[in-house]
Symmetry: C2
Subunit: 342 residues, 2 copies
């Protein structure tokens, strides 16, 4: 593996440096060829580096700034008011070639706006998309996009998401011709709104993609498709709803298993096993959403990610950088668009 450098927005997220810095040190241990730029308040970062060894320290650079984007800042404010925010400087490091990718657990809207303005979209891509990997009952992951970068999408945008999602899946999961589906309210051709139906038409006419048709919400988690495309409004609500129902089930299960002495006693004995299953399903564990379609790699971590979850987001950024994701998407998109236009 060639040397890689990541820029981390150390200040972003609910826990800030207390999670991001230890996760960065862990990443340096796992990935011997990795360098990390920690972007944030050095008075908060430096005390957390006391446990680092000299090998780690030599691969860390601190870019000091005290400015940061708040969770409730509007994207336009993040863009105009803060010229030195930790989020902005991390993205600029990618733009200026100082880093191969960046990671932030900060305000999603601000991250998208900054990334789009600073990095620009790839040729042929009108709008970047936010995509994440979900667990399925067969064990293989399913990629869902867009998760909220684009609240409204036309058919063209949905089509581009399908291409980008497909390339991302191939690149990260190393599996060719992933099965691409459109999320809809029914499997029949007549179902859905105009945008979805038009996108289906585009996808049917694109043999370079392995388009398999519509799926409904309950098929997301079966593992029968690999890439699931929808607009950002639907995607965001789908993802959040999944988190909500998972929490509800966990809550009910805990309640059900603490009523009555014998049940409580037996449940405690198998608690680690139940815990393991639930943590696999915990959305905070399944961490790291990629903002794709840009001329650079940006990974969004859950705001409330713990150290382990944030480390996952870092590892995802490393994988995407190693495999040169933006170039892959660009090449693939160009070849498909060329085929279509020829």
């Amino acid at each position: 593996m060639t040397n890689l450098t990541l820029a981390l927005d150390v200040m972003g997220g609910d826990h800030g440096p207390h999670v991001t810095v230890p996760a960065a040190l862990q990443a340096l241990t796992i990935q011997p060829n990795l360098n990390i730029i920690l972007v944030g308040d050095k008075t908060k970062i430096e005390p957390l580096l006391q446990l680092a060894d000299t090998g780690q320290i030599s691969r860390i650079e601190i870019v000091h700034t005290t400015e940061m984007v708040q969770m409730n800042d509007r994207p336009i404010h993040a863009l105009r008011r803060y010229k030195q925010s930790s989020m902005r400087l991390a993205i600029e490091a990618v733009r200026d070639g100082k880093a191969d990718a960046c990671v932030s657990a900060g305000n999603t809207g601000a991250l998208m706006a900054l990334a789009k303005v600073l990095l620009k979209t790839l040729p042929g891509v009108d709008r970047p998309a936010l995509v994440s990997s979900l667990p399925t009952s067969k064990g293989n992951p399913a990629y869902l996009l867009d998760l909220g970068a684009n609240v409204t999408c036309d058919a063209e945008a949905l089509f581009q998401f399908a291409v980008m999602g497909s390339v991302l899946f191939e690149t990260v999961e190393k599996r060719e011709r992933p099965r691409v589906a459109l999320l809809n309210v029914g499997n029949e051709e007549i179902k859905g709104n105009d945008n979805v139906q038009q996108a289906a038409q585009y996808l049917q006419d694109t043999p370079q993609l392995n388009y398999v048709g519509y799926i409904e919400g309950d098929e997301i988690y079966t593992g029968n498709v690999d890439v699931i495309v929808c607009d950002g409004f639907v995607g965001n609500i789908t993802l959040k709803t999944s988190e909500g129902i998972a929490r509800l089930l966990v809550h009910q299960l805990k309640k059900g298993l603490t009523e009555g002495f014998l049940v409580r006693f037996l449940a405690r004995l198998i608690a680690p096993r139940i815990q393991k299953v639930l943590s696999q399903m915990n959305p905070d564990q399944y961490n790291g959403a990629s903002l794709i379609g840009l001329r650079g790699i940006v990974v969004k971590s859950h705001g409330n990610a713990d150290q382990e979850a944030y480390l996952q987001a870092i590892c995802l950024a490393v994988t995407e950088a190693q495999r040169r994701l933006p170039e892959m998407i660009k090449d693939r998109l160009e070849s498909i668009l060329l085929d279509i236009n020829s």
Copy 2:
């Protein structure tokens, strides 16, 4: 309780008369003032009535027809081709005053189209909505609408859904001023698309409703709001996604608890408890969606409902008929619209 009559589309659903007829007999036992019209093929119905006692038989009428709407029929076909389908005749019984409500487990799109054409919408309602009750971690139900009757909705439609959902909740749950929320991609005022933002404006200007703002997908199941409003595309996918993730969790849990002898043994001892929790969460148990905004009561059962689940749908129809739901919605809607226009 005054006498009530329900018309059942006996043929609809995955299991047809084998589920619907025994559920009808059970309903007659539970509800002494209930009469039931069984609409369907009498050669299939009559053998299933052999176990009924004379008291039950005297409260049953069979309307014989061999025509039925298939699950994959387009709504327009259901409307034009089948003039004698069991679904159509059940709705016509409501229209003609022979029944106080009808229940069908058949094709949802066909049911909505037939109900709208045959029963007509209430004054002030442009489009009926499909609404269902969901479990929450606090134990109180949450009502979600629209679940797919309207794939695209403008702000006006979302507003009407909020009014109708609110009245439905008050009527069925017997609780005043239910908390009404709009489903969105964030809690902040600036979030969402134009329709949702405009609907929020309408709702803020309507003191007759207890509008509490936007909620995200993960807040549906917390029990902090009572009525959740979204368009039918989002609602359908939200509901189906919830079913999907619930099934995934159950699958993972079963897998996790059958690996290793001791775990398997202990798990078996508390299996009934786990089973109980899971069945509470089973979407098939939480059965019966109401098609509201019409001049008559139509309840949609899950297509794959078993006898117990179908009975729940029947009981929901009885409750709505007893409380004269359409009149309640009509009165409430009129008073709100009058206030707004005055």
